[in-house]
């Protein structure tokens, strides 16, 4: 399954690893913050509707 990377295995795997890792962090952070903001906003909206 795994392709033969030869003596460059580290370079290739590290590149893929680091890049995908960074992308994953970026995506997850964006999604998490979006979720949180959505929820927070809803809460605040509810509150402000009830009060005003």
């Amino acid at each position: 399954m795994m392709p033969e990377l030869g003596k460059y295995a580290f370079a290739v795997l590290a590149s893929y690893g680091v890049s995908l890792g960074l992308l994953a962090v970026l995506v997850l952070a964006s999604v998490a913050r979006a979720r949180r903001m959505r929820a927070d906003l809803e809460r605040v909206e509810d509150r402000s509707k009830r009060h005003g």
Partner: protein, 242 residues
Amino acid sequence: MSIWEYANPVKFIRTTDRVLPWISAGAAICLVVGLVWGFFFTPDDYRQGSTVKIFYIHVPAAMMAINAWAMMLVASLIWIIRRHHVSALAARAAAPVGATFTVIALATGAFWGQPMWGTWWAWDPRLTSFLVLFLFYLGYMALWSAIENDDTAADLTSILCLVGSVFAILSRYAVLFWNQGLHQGASLSLDKEENVADVFWYPALVCIAGFVLLFIALVFLRTQTEIRARRMRALIARERQA
């Protein structure tokens, strides 16, 4: 029906909500297909061996790192000229994405350079200007987060983006000049005619498409978040005032 309608936050959120799933799915499919294809099903290059696989991440990331800044520049100009809030927030939302792409391009470049040039890093003009670009991203984001007033921050960062773009181009030429005739040899780049044969090029194209879509999806999502954050600040402020 003008494009400026999307400058309305509500309209923007509604529209992007509708298209986001599609764009995200497209980004995911392109990235998976492109990377799997590139990683598992392409031959090694006769000169670079398996390192050519780094190409599929390195090039799209590098391209999008530059394009993200260009997009921020356009968005900043729109804010300065037409004062559409969504545009300023989109520029803000794009910065961390662009910065991450820059880091990815730098990191993959470094990993690639190790076997190819025998060094992680060389002061090659292209690499150097990328590092400078990264600094611009850092400064831009730092300025956004240092200023409280939203409109002031938008104004200042737009001007910074404008001035910064001019200086980024200047730096690019300065760096080219600086490292000319001093440091040859080590640099190596794939000669398109010869090496980027179709076997390498097709998966790369798919990956590029994936990165473009990913960028769009992330910017849409993050802009939505910024809009909501802004709205929340306005609501809380109004509550306090009452």
